[in-house]
Each structure stands twice: as C-alpha cells, then as structure tokens.
Amino acid sequence: MDELTAQIKDKLIEILNLTDVTPEDIDENAQLVGGELGIDSIDVLEMVVMVEKDYGVVINNKEIGEKVFSTLKNLVDFIRENSPEVS
C-alpha cells in the first residue's frame, strides 16, 4: 500500500468514525459508496470537504464526484493527479 493510499484510508476511518474498520479492511477496488462500509451521500460530502481542505482539490460536480468516490483507488488517483500538495 503506497503512502497516499494509507493516509487516505486513515483519514476516512477518522472522519467517518469507522471504529470497527482497520485500514486493511478497506478494499481499494471495492465499491466505496453504498458498499460494505455503509458509506452514503452525507459521508461523500464529508469526504469532499476533507479532500478540499487537506489536498486542495475541489469536487463540486456530481458526475465527477460519482466517478471519484466509486472506489478508494479512484479517489487516491484523482487526488494524486489534481493535488498541488501531492507530488
């Protein structure tokens, strides 16, 4: 697991208060929203805030949002491609 992926997993567990989940439990390719973790639309909005606040990446378009949050891998890739703070 690369550093950014590990970091984002930790952040998701923290902001979404997934106290019964460890980073290893999160499958990077599994469906993120509506999947086993029980993540829904409100969680997505909380993640949008985190992504903008911590990585300077704005997601304000529903279509892009749906794609970005479809899996953890897509989220990590999107941040990597768009964040001025991640090289």
Binding site: L16, D20, D40, I42, D43, L45, E46, V49, K53
Partner: protein
C-alpha cells in the same frame, strides 16, 4: 359513541416573509410572481460571493430579542389583530431559536451566561406568551422543516379534544450561520436561486420568516378558512434525504385527507413542499402521482419566498388561506421547464379560479412529514368520542451519571446521588458501532434509551411513533459545526455535524432504527421538554388508529463549554450532569401496568398553583389519591420553586413524602424524564401504598403535573 366534530376556524393570520409583511403585501407579491430571493445581506459572511437567500426586512435593534423572536412576535401580533382575547395556548415551530445571537457570542468568546438566555427554542413561545399575556401552554416543536405544520397540527388536536378554545400556532426561523452554511455544506443550495421542479434545479434557497394562525373552535366574525385535517408521518429512512419513493410523504398526505374526510378528487390545489432540491421534488412528485390520478393545480412558492425552514409550513398555511379567500393560486416561481422525471406540471403563472380545499405539504430532516388540509368552509363531520384509554407503560429505561437504568435506580433507592456524566462509550455500549458512527453524545443517548425501553418491554414489535423532548438538543454537533466554521474562515463546515445538529436528529434516528413510521415529534421547552413531549403523545397517540404505541423520552447532553452558558441551573450546581428517561407506551388499559397522564401544564402566574390543584381534581381528590410527590425545582428557580411547592402543600394539606428529584439526578433539562422513570419504578416495586398515585410536579416559571398510577 360519536359526536359532532368541532370545526377549527382560522380566526386570524399573520405573516412576515421575504414576500412581505402581512397578508396584503404577500398577495401582491404572489400576484407579481417575482422571486424575493437575493444575495445574503442581513449579516456578513467570509465566503464570497454571498449565496442567494430569502431575507426579511426587519430592524435588528429595539427589543433586545434575537431575530427569530422578533420575526415571531411580529407575525403573532398580526394574527391577533381585531381580537381582545388571550389565546389559551401558543405553539411554535422553530429550529433556530436564538442561535443567531449565540453564534456571535461564541465568536466573541463571551463567557457571560446572561447574554445567552434566548438561545433555547422554547424562549420564542415564552416571549410571544409574555407579549400576549398567555398563561396557558407555551409549547415548542422542532421537527426541522415541518415544524410549523407540526405546531398547527398539535393546535388542532388540542382544540378538537376541547383542551383549548383559542390557540395561536405557527413557526419562525431566522437566517443564521448554522442554516446558511449547513445547507451549503450539503450541496443543497442552488446558486441561481431555488427553482422547484425545474429540470435544471440544483437546490433550495435558505430563507427566514414567520407566520401564525389564530385557530379557534369558536366561529369568528370573519373566518379565513378552516383546518379540516392534518397528517403526520415519518419516513424512518434517512437522517437528511427523503425516501426516494416518497412513501412517508404519500402517507402523510393520505392521512391529512382521511382526517379531513375528503378524497383526492376534493382537493382543488396542492401547495407543494417543493424545496428545489433534486431529491425532494422527485420524491414528492412520485407521492403526488400515486395519490392523484389527475393532480389538481399545484405549485411550490419556495422559488419566490425561499425556504423559511420551520416557518415554511406556517407561511404556506397562511398563503393557503389567502388562496381560499381570494380564489387565487400562486405560481411555482423559478420553474421554467418542468422536470419530466417528476411527471407533474406546476403552475407557471398565477391563476384566479375558485378554490375550496387545499392540501399543504411540509417535509423535513429526519424524514419528518406533515400535511394540512385547509378549506374555505366548515364541513359537517362526526368524530369518535375522545379517547379515554390510558397510556400504559410497558417498558422503561433511564441514563444518569450513575449508569444505565438499574445502576441509576439502585443509587436512588439507597438515597445516593446519580448526578454526573456517564462516559459516552458506556452510554452506547449496547448499540452497534456502525449504527452510531455519525452520532455524538445526544443522539447516542436517545438511541440507547429507546433501545433499552424496548428491551425492558420484552416486546419484539417496536412502537409506531416517537415523542421526544430535549431542552438543548444536539449541543456537541452544534458547537463543533460552529467552531469548525470559525476555524476554517467559514470554508469547511461539516455536513455530518449539520445534519446531526437539528433538534429532531435523535428522534429521526430512533425512527430509522425501530422502523417507526408514525408521528415523530420533538419538543424543546427548556426544563419542561419531557412534559411537552407527553402532551404531544396524548394528542397524537390514539387507541383505534394504526399508531397506538410510542416511545416517549427526553434526553439532554452535558457539554463544555455550552451547558454552563445556556443552562443557568447547570452552572449554579457546578456539577456537570446529564441523561434522560424513556418509555415504551401503549394507548390502552393494561391491568398491572403503570399508566402516565399529564394533568397540568401552564405558566406560573398568580393563580398557577390554584389552577394546578384544580386540574389534579381538587384538594380532597389529591389527598385521597396522592401517595408521593417527586418535585422538580431547577436550581435557577430555587426560591420561587420552593414557594410554589410550599403553597401547593399548604393548600392541599398533604402529608406525603416529597422528594426533590434534582438532588438525585443532578441539574439538567431532562431530569423530569428520569424522575418519571423513578416514579414508575416506585409503583411497580410496590413501594407506594395500594391505590395511591405518584405525582411528578414541576415548578419554576412553568408549572407541570404528571400523574402515574398502577392500573
């Protein structure tokens, strides 16, 4: 047995909204069909440009009251014009109370508790009560965007039951940082202004306003219409989003029509909730289409007025009376091309045509649905004799600093204090972590209380309805939202905290976890919130209806730094304490079970104690039946409370044990709910002489009396 059902006349109306002040200005604005939505200017924000909102031109100086209170008083006074009478009760729906002032005080880091005195939602009703010299029930309901409609529905129930002849009911909310940024954080705000049912709609426009209806069973000289029926349901689906199929909304509309004794064919116009959010409008449309094969003319006025939140239902009820009186239907402002997915075509221009019956919809967070059926003339109808079956307690639970139910009660029975704050982890120890991951202390406590009351009942079936009280609601979420807003220059408000901050968030969660699709009410009247929730239970829980079982509970969380700033009693005690009590109730006589009844609720005026004694059956009756008194005197009202209790004891000449329950529970608003659990336990464990009742009395600026008895 049946009897003629009393007609509920709209004797007076008052309205203050972005559309204007008063009925005449509102009608002109609706005829002009021009949106009153503009960039925010009533306070400054750091994130630019300001979003479009609906704001009211009302002076910020003068009375010293916060904006919500001033909006409320302005429309309440309008509704009373032409009447010398004093309403028997005032019922207010509000979500904001004095939060706009609290936001400023917190930003200034003010530690002066006296400045926070208008924070509580209940203070809005109290200030109207003072203004109108009302000494009856001053009640407050907070069910998010359905609050105003819920308040009107409660008024109708009280009038129908004959508990009152004149009730002033409505709603009020002012713009504030919490709602302005809260809905924005949920991406529910349309930057172009709200355009309900438009194919390209992107959300709502947060607004403010207030409206009140003077309702009466006495036929007034000039009636503005009649309220024929109301319907309350809960989606029990999601904390913020409506059920995608609109099933809860459909049931609320159907219930309102059934209650009114009308069919879909009788409805001439539907005033839609229509916020402009893609989800609401779609779900509401589906519900309308299932109920109406050929929907009548319909529109949402929120594209013109914005969404006045708790006030919106009352604003739209007043607008409905304007429509009935003027044979006028307003247009669905903002909608240029109706969304084909919705499958309904709202009015694009105002229409003049006869209208005799209107269905008005209000839906809110927590899946809270409330609908009214208003008509131009009375309708002969009969009603079943008023339900006399008792509310039986089949399960109960409490939480205090001493722990869960038996740990708390054990402490009480050894005459030790239970005051304190139980660790949140322990509060929620029986709840699945996934279920509570987005909840902070208040909601976790409420959910734990409901689950424990159900477990205690031994019943598998969950109750249908939820009636909850809380003096202060979700303090953690409210504080965290505002602190985070300030820390990030208003850039990164938390959507999760916003959703959790509404007063009815906990009751909504209880409904979701227990599948409770019946009425779902949250009252917030300071130290008397539990007693208000009991009044609502008595009003809405019927023996012969589908909804004959309910959770009745109250809870409050201790929060640092907010609790000592907001709750003077908490500050004076110097000991942080919180908790709550809950019941699983059935509306039927169950021999061997304890029943609970509200006997009195009113202001502590000159004759308060006298009236209280009369409501309890008079001196002789009280002496014959009372076995024990649990007295609640909030620390902030020690002197007056002690005097009231002395007067009560002297005038009744009672010689029974009197327990000052706050000495055991500690000082918090929902302490009376814990005391009521204590009372039930005393009766169940045979510690009260056979045939005797336990009275749970509340003193202070309000006087309350509840009676518990073994059946």
């Amino acid at each position: 047995m049946s009897s003629k059902r009393p007609t509920i006349y709209v004797a007076g109306v008052g309205i203050v909204s972005p559309l204007g002040t008063g009925v005449d200005a509102t009608l002109v604005a609706l005829r002009n069909n021009s949106p009153a939505i503009a960039p925010l200017h009533v306070f400054s924000v750091q994130q630019q440009p300001p979003l479009p909102v609906g704001q009211v031109d009302i002076a910020d100086v003068g009375s010293g009251l916060p904006r919500t209170h001033r909006l409320a008083i302005a429309s309440a006074k309008q509704a009373m014009v032409g009447y010398d009478c004093i309403p028997d009760a005032v019922i207010v729906g509000s979500t904001t109370g004095g939060i706009s002032r609290t936001e400023k005080l917190l930003a200034e880091k003010s530690q002066d508790a006296t400045l926070y005195k208008y924070h509580g939602l209940g203070t809005v009703a109290e200030e109207i009560g003072k203004e109108l010299h009302c000494t009856g029930e001053l009640l407050s309901f907070s069910t998010a965007c359905s609050s105003g409609t819920v308040a009107i529905s409660m008024a109708c129930k009280m009038l129908e039951a004959g508990d009152a002849e004149w009730v002033l009911a409505g709603g009020a909310d002012s713009l504030c940082l919490l709602t302005y940024y809260g809905f924005h954080s949920l991406q529910l705000v349309d930057k172009k202004g709200s355009r309900p049912f438009d194919v390209s709609r992107e959300g709502m426009s947060v607004a403010e306003g207030s409206a009140f209806l003077l309702l009466s069973t006495v036929k007034p000289e000039h009636s503005h219409g009649v309220v024929l029926g109301s319907g309350l349901t809960c989606d029990a689906h999601h904390a913020a989003a409506p059920h995608p199929e609109g099933t809860g909304a459909e049931h609320a509309m159907q219930k309102a029509m059934d209650d009114a004794g009308v069919t879909a064919d009788d409805v001439d116009y539907i005033n839609l909730h229509g916020t402009g959010t893609p989800e609401n409008d779609l779900a509401e449309s589906k519900a309308v289409r299932r109920l109406f094969d050929f929907p009548p003319p319909l529109s949402s006025i929120k594209g013109l007025s914005g969404h006045g939140l708790a006030a919106s239902g009352a604003i739209e009820a007043v607008v409905s009376t304007i429509c009935l009186e003027n044979d006028f239907l307003p247009a669905n402002g903002g909608c240029e091309e109706a969304d084909p997915a919705c499958g309904i075509v709202p009015l694009v221009t105002p229409v003049s045509q006869p209208v005799a019956a209107i269905l008005s919809n209000s839906f809110g967070f927590g899946g809270n649905n409330a609908c009214l059926l208003l008509a131009d003339t009375e309708k002969e109808s009969v009603q079943e004799e008023v339900d006399k079956a008792p509310l039986s307690i089949v399960g109960k639970a409490c939480i205090t600093g001493a722990g869960h139910t038996m740990d708390s009660l054990g402490r009480f029975f050894t005459l030790e204090s239970m005051a304190g704050t139980l660790e949140t982890k322990t509060v929620a120890e029986e709840l699945p972590p996934r279920a509570i991951r987005r909840m902070k202390r208040f909601s976790q406590m409420a959910l734990a209380l409901a689950a424990a009351a159900q477990k205690d009942s031994g019943l598998e079936q969950s109750p249908h309805a939820v009636f909850m009280g809380s003096g202060w609601g979700a303090l953690s979420e409210t504080y965290d939202f505002l602190e985070n807003l300030q820390d990030t220059n208003e850039q990164f408000p938390s959507p999760i905290d916003f959703v959790g901050s509404v007063h009815n968030s906990a009751a909504g969660q209880i409904a979701i976890h227990h599948g409770a699709t019946g009425p779902n009410l949250t009252s917030s009247g300071g130290d008397y919130s539990f007693e208000q929730a009991l009044l609502a239970t008595e009003a809405f829980l019927g023996e012969k209806t589908r909804y004959n079982t309910a959770f009745l509970l109250a809870a409050d969380e201790s929060h640092s730094p907010l609790s000592p700033l907001l709750d003077v009693s908490s500050q004076l005690s110097g000991v942080a304490a919180d908790g709550g009590g809950s019941f699983y109730l059935c509306r039927k006589a169950i021999p061997g079970k304890v029943s609970i009844r509200s006997c009195f609720y009113g202001c502590a005026g000159e004759k308060g104690i006298e009236e209280m004694i009369r409501s309890l059956g008079g001196r002789e009756d009280i002496r014959n039946k009372c076995g024990m008194i649990l007295a609640g005197i909030p620390a902030a009202r020690t002197q007056v409370g002690e005097q009231q209790l002395d007067q009560f004891m002297q005038e009744t000449d009672l010689d029974v044990p009197v327990i000052h329950y706050r000495k055991f529970t500690g000082e918090f608003s929902s302490a009376s709910a814990v005391a009521t659990v204590m009372a039930a336990q005393l009766l169940e464990s045979g510690q009260i002489p056979a045939g005797k009742f336990v009275m749970v009395l509340g003193f202070g600026h309000t006087l309350t009396a509840m009676e518990l008895a073994l059946q």
